[in-house]
Assembly symmetry: C2
Homo-oligomer: 514 residues x 2
């Protein structure tokens, strides 16, 4: 926190240099919630959702299109395969498979052991946004993402004490060939950060490459026994798992690594417009994928994901930070706990085109329910703009403030003698102020969360400073943060082996953009 | 909701006239929450806070400075009065007094019975911001509020289906004399709106004027038997109730009207920097005031209030939308339910100077916990900017969207056959889309909440429209809303009697600015 010499006396303001807070070794590597999750639904309501999800799996079924081995696993497990690819799962079977072997909580190891994260139970891990083709900043505007941008966002995530994870495709490095960029992305996470990260999911071969690089970094045996990488896999909702996605899930699971199984449902398009229907579908699809991972390798880690969006009545466009997905978050949090599998939710989602009030409102409407739902892995916690099409530098650091705030919320209330401050009341008494009391002096440094981007000065001071809005301050903040970046050390032999692997893989294939 | 003819086909956008939605008679007059409140603290933790609050009341006590009758009431009830004004309340006494007679839920009647609100239990009533000396809008900038502004905000609150209450001092009409403006303000609420409202609290005589005007509007006997007006009274924290505030509480209570008892605690100044201490103090002070109302007239309605703010370490300024007050909201929600008294929280609070991302983030960080805490009366739900110094036209309509969203959250999930949409899954099947399904056509109009200020169009469309941010859209929105305002009818004889009363009261005093 801020040192005492930086604190101005009441009402006055002291100018100081922009603060750069490098990721501090003392910062907690993940959130351990001291507050309970919000239990919105009754037992009866939860059973009703589970029952409808099971009916979808049994009566309609899911199709696996182009992965005979996955179909074989399901057939052996007791599902009925129809029309070559339709998997009808008897009610109860998928949950039985998952409950039998999927871990309720697991550790994803980072190369710096102090940054390993626990995923599941009362833990919440925050990761940056994922997958945008575009990036934007206040000076450069909106443009296609490059590998330079990718590296910048990995650095920014590394520098923040409020992100526990380096993420995956923090933006698409569109200046690199599609069939090889995963090698550069995984290497950037490994080299520029020492936080845990995600690997490629676009093909099973690229997933295998990502895992192979982990074997170089962590050692082959360690990787077989421990989770060191996540792969975020989308279901082709409604009720289709394409063969490549299915193989990616199996590739991660077979290596004892964790697929994040994410139905992608825009209500009214890939699912019904009614929230309960989308929720049951989402639970059914994610459950089906997590179960497939368990069939591939029982006991391998997995995360139950969801991506539920509503639709604008005015434009037909997907919307974010709306109330319907918020309600779904609360419900799916309860469903995940009953299933005994860690939950992924989206963090600071929004549809806004700029980091304005719309962006901030929508983002808060997504992050609050994610945290209170007890989500264990919160992807898209920083930078997300425009429905995920854009990774914004300014939004990234704004979102970091909200991530920091959620650390305080998750820590809950301290209720000890110091917190109750009876000695301060005895010292101060009615009608006096607490500013100079011994209790205040003893506690003020750690008392309140301090949002970096907030301007809490007087109107007059703010005007004198140039009447800037939050975007302006965020712009200064990320530039200042980046300029203070220092690369963490990496064993030279490992680095060389990684680079050698990448060079060989790149040489083995012609560049391609698919 | 939007009619079907206004909905554009997927992806395309149809231009249409700005929508003005007058407060619809079918809109619910208040929120009845179908979701449970968030129970953050254990029984043990709650008892600990209650015990510390009781120790403050007993060991330190509160001072009532200049109201011998209030001291007499407390003496008779069993408190010890020391040093002429220090009231030491034996542990348990204040809660016993309140539990004995204060209603857990009551109706505040509006002159239009369809707009009467229920305050307490599972109900939440949203009211606009209160008390700012300044107003601002995108064209006119920041300036002192006038009676014209006051009337505008009463009209805007009247027009919104998401505000249930007309509020009180929606901004200070600084162009009217201080000792008479309450007459004009109360009349404006009565004449320009038919929603429930708040009266003056600056002196007991002005509170009495406000109530007298209600007797003209509602009838003397009705007012004695029913709550028709609230008075928002601040405690001079720490632990002081000045004589005027104390008389205002007693004036409302004696008339069977509801004082809203609000400790105003900036942590580190009017209370300790630690949240638990501020929380215990806040509960003790509010409890003391609610109990005073019960001593004045047992069974009269009252609301337990709180206003807890943190402090910026950088400037010493009050901050809003920070995590510490959010945690306090959850706790005080539980305390209020245990006490059996309706709870007031603040809604869209923020410290930002403009309606930017900072304003929106901070506001959401205040509204979410207020709603999930189960607050029954949410003041400052629309318009609040700059720590309450400014009532902003643009922020007002932005906040309305969040108020609307909270209606959907509070309604919870619908879990019936239509919502689960099994027929749609049977019709559509794997890999197809739901856009044209019978279920979608039957449900899309009411499926999703539609935020007025959000732009969910494509980036290209948004650019073509002028690349505007949310402030620009909000500016258009409030102007369009105001232009559609129509004054509700009022019985001419009552109107004349009100105007006559005001004229006589004004004539009886020289103008004064205190």
């Amino acid at each position: 926190m801020t040192g005492p010499e930086e604190v101005a006396p009441q009402g006055r303001r002291r100018r100081r240099a922009p603060r750069v807070r490098p990721a501090h070794p003392a910062a907690a590597p993940f959130i351990t919630r001291a507050i309970p999750p919000y239990e919105m639904l009754s037992e009866e309501a939860l059973v009703s959702i589970e029952t409808h999800a099971e009916r979808l799996l049994e009566e309609i079924g899911l199709e696996i299109r182009g992965d005979p081995e996955a179909l074989g696993l399901w057939r052996e497990a007791g599902a009925r395969i129809e029309n070559e690819c339709r998997v009808r799962v008897p009610a109860g079977l998928a949950r039985t498979i998952v409950r039998r072997s999927a871990p309720a909580r697991f550790t994803q190891h980072a190369r710096n052991p102090a940054r390993s994260v626990s995923i599941g139970g009362p833990c919440s891990v925050l990761a940056p946004a994922y997958g945008s083709p575009f990036v934007s900043d206040a000076q450069g505007g909106r443009r296609y993402g490059t590998f330079e941008d990718f590296r910048n966002f990995v650095k920014l995530a590394y520098l923040s004490p409020w992100l526990h994870h380096s993420g995956g495709t923090v933006c698409e490095p569109t200046d690199l060939p599609v069939n090889k960029r995963h090698l550069d992305m995984v290497y950037a996470h490994m080299r520029l950060s020492d936080k845990p990260f995600m690997g490629s999911v676009t093909t099973a071969a690229r997933a295998a490459d990502s895992i192979e690089m982990c074997r170089i970094l962590f050692g082959r045996e360690f990787v077989d026994a421990n989770c060191v990488i996540l792969g975020n896999v989308n279901v082709n909702s409604p009720l289709v798992l394409d063969g490549e996605a299915s193989r990616v899930i199996r590739t991660y699971a077979a290596a004892n690594q964790a697929p994040v199984c994410v139905p992608f449902i825009l209500g009214g398009a890939m699912g019904p417009v009614t929230t309960a229907g989308g929720l049951a579908q989402c639970f059914a699809e994610a459950l089906f994928c997590v179960a497939l991972g368990q069939l591939e390798r029982p006991g391998s880690p997995a995360i139950l994901g969801n991506f539920l969006s509503s639709m604008s009545l005015r434009s037909g466009a997907p919307t974010f930070g709306t109330p319907e997905p918020a309600l779904a978050y609360f419900a799916i949090g309860q469903l995940a706990r009953r299933l005994g599998v860690p939950l992924r939710c989206g963090g600071n989602l929004c549809a806004a085109k700029v980091a304005d009030a719309q962006a901030a409102t929508e983002s808060a409407n997504s992050l609050w329910p994610a945290v209170l739902a007890g989500a264990n892995f919160i992807l898209h916690s920083a930078g997300w703009l425009e429905g995920g099409l854009v990774m914004s530098y300014e939004k990234f650091v704004m979102d970091l403030d909200q991530c920091g705030l959620m650390h305080v919320i998750a820590a809950g209330l301290t209720l000890d003698d110091n917190a109750f401050a009876l000695d301060a009341f005895r010292e101060v008494g009615p009608g006096k102020h607490f500013l100079g009391s011994a209790h205040t002096l003893r506690n003020y440094e750690t008392a309140f969360f301090d949002a970096e981007i907030a301007d809490n000065n007087s109107f007059e001071q703010w005007q004198q400073d140039g009447s800037h809005d939050a975007i302006w301050r965020a712009n200064r903040r990320w530039r200042s943060l980046l300029s203070g970046y220092e690369m963490p050390a990496l064993d030279a032999a490992i680095d060389e082996a990684l680079q050698d692997f990448i060079a060989r893989r790149k040489a083995s294939l012609p560049d391609a953009n698919a």
